[in-house]
Amino acid sequence: MLTLLGVLVVIVGFALRFNALLVVTVAGIVTGLAGGLSLHDVIAAFGKAFTENRYVAIIWMVLPVIGLLERNGLKERAREMMSRVHAATTGRVLMVYMALRQITAALGLTALGGHAQMVRPLLAPMAEGAAESRFGELSDRTRFRIRAHAAAVDNIGVFFGEDIFIAIGSILLIKGFLAQNGIDVAATTLAKWAVPTALCATAIHFVRLLLLDRSLERQARAAALLSDCPTDPLSDSPAVRRSDGPTVEPEGPGAAGP
């Protein structure tokens, strides 16, 4: 039971919003000590695992070129391009990207995407640009909400696409694990049974993106009404602020539809 102390540290630490690096380090040390290691061995185990997992950080090598392009107007260009596509709405831009991400991941091309190389420099400005060209200048909260949705479609697209590809890590892990337990399944069978969930993911999230479009529109109309009558006492009403929030999801529960 003591072994779970580290898990408790993680849950409490994240819930109380302590610095996540500190929480993770303390949780690691607590877990190691509870598991019977000496402090020296815990620190060494931490160092060893940190060194072995350096490849996780290689994605940051995109920063020099992305920063250089941003300085020279990459995001502005991406935004401006969307303003010329009349059919573009935030939800539709995100749907197209998610579909492409899911399909390419299903073909094993998981490297075609990612937050540092696609979402920040291209997708998020395009999704913001589509909203700007419809509704004019966006509030910060709307902007943040659209960005969060842009990050989410990259995740959801790749998570629920990659398992349809037979040579992806998780399929190999499942196959190997079942083989250890004396059950032989073909990778193609596993990949086939990832398809129903992939279709559900697309359906559920597309409905949410349609609702996002509607909610952005409602919000823009409400903002336009308010700016027409600046003395309106409702201008600071909590209802308006809530629907404007970047993180609150008023459309969430309503998405239960299909």
């Binding site: 598991g35 995109v62 020099p64 020279n72 502005e76 260009r77 909400r145 694990f177 969930t197």
Partner: protein, 320 residues
């Protein structure tokens, strides 16, 4: 053979550059903290393979203390004004996309092409690390193309990298730290304890209850560990195989495929999956570090429900 070490040296040099640029910014009150933080990280890349594990562990703890107690401050201001960037965007137009799209294109070409490149019969690039090496190469190619096209000052890329890296801050190291925590969880046997608890406390004598326990267990365990791969062996050995397959006669392939994807629903909802959830929030400069998670929770919950129904209706129908 080109292996990961070459990539790590490049990454270390970039981080060292970021540390030095930060030191040179005399207007930044936290510049010494930033120098130490990015500097130590640079050392773990440049010398990591030669340092004793204990020394690396101490260095990492130093980074954690500097960032959590000393603090890293915020991002430096934009180096070009909105008007300058607009003008540049008009000047270069869609050519700006070329270097950006070179990143996925070269990564893809490397991932599929490197295995055919051999020198005297030995592979030119370590076949186990092709994806990471291709990505690193792609960033170098894209940077060269961007510099050639824009004729920017030589210091510009590292200054811009420093601006973005400072905006992300300590969250940049979090995925690597969580991977290290996962290793400690594995050493201490956290997984075994959890599956014992589940088996002891949940009544598992109805097929639907078992399916719900397995799928929800995958998601919850993933939320705690930050990684469905860590949850899968524990939950499948503890509940999936003995109950769904052996006791109720379910199909192992369907159970495993949908079970893993139930874990992915958990990945959408946890700060422990930092590279998917916390890093993009920092990268997109969201004020709420859980902003991406909050957007993903409704989809995660609904899809978990869909997975439970799919597994219940499919796993007992197609028996092996």
């Amino acid at each position: 053979m080109i292996g990961l070490n070459a990539v790590y040296v490049l990454m270390g040099l970039m981080l060292a550059g970021i540390a030095v640029v930060n030191l040179g910014d005399r207007g930044d009150r936290r510049r010494l903290n930033k120098l130490v933080f990015w500097g130590i990280w640079a050392i773990t890349f440049l010398l990591g393979s030669h340092l004793p594990d204990f020394a690396t562990g101490c260095l990492v703890i130093g980074m954690v203390l500097v960032s959590s107690i000393g603090g890293l401050g915020g991002a430096p201001p934009e180096s070009a004004t909105r008007a300058e960037r607009d003008a540049s965007a008009r000047r270069w137009g869609s050519r700006l996309f070329v270097p950006a799209l070179l990143i996925p294109a070269v990564t893809l070409a490397g991932t599929s092409g490197f295995k055919y490149l051999t020198v005297n019969g030995a592979p030119l690039v370590d076949p186990k690390q092709v994806t990471v090496i291709s990505l690193a190469l792609a960033t170098v190619v894209a940077l060269a193309a961007g510099m050639g096209m824009l004729r920017a000052p030589l210091a510009s890329p590292i200054q811009e990298a420093r601006r973005l890296m400072d905006a992300v801050g300590w969250a940049a190291v979090l995925p690597q730290m969580l991977a290290a925590l996962g290793a400690l969880f594995a050493i201490a046997g956290v997984g075994g304890v959890v599956s014992t608890l589940v088996n002891r406390w949940i009544p598992l004598d109805h097929a639907f209850v078992v399916v719900v326990t397995y799928a929800v267990g995958m998601a919850l365990f993933t939320i705690v560990m930050g990684n469905a791969f860590a949850a899968f062996p524990v939950m499948t050995a503890g509940i999936g195989l003995p109950l769904i397959v052996t006791k109720f006669g379910g199909d192992p392939a369907i159970m495993a495929a949908i079970g893993m994807l139930s874990g992915y629903c958990g990945t959408l909802m946890t700060p422990m999956a930092a590279n998917f959830n916390i890093v993009p929030a920092a990268l997109l400069e969201l004020p709420d570090e859980n902003g991406v998670i909050k957007v993903q929770i409704p989809t995660g919950v609904l899809l978990l429900g869909a997975n439970i129904l799919l597994m219940y209706f499919l796993v007992f129908r197609y028996r092996p």
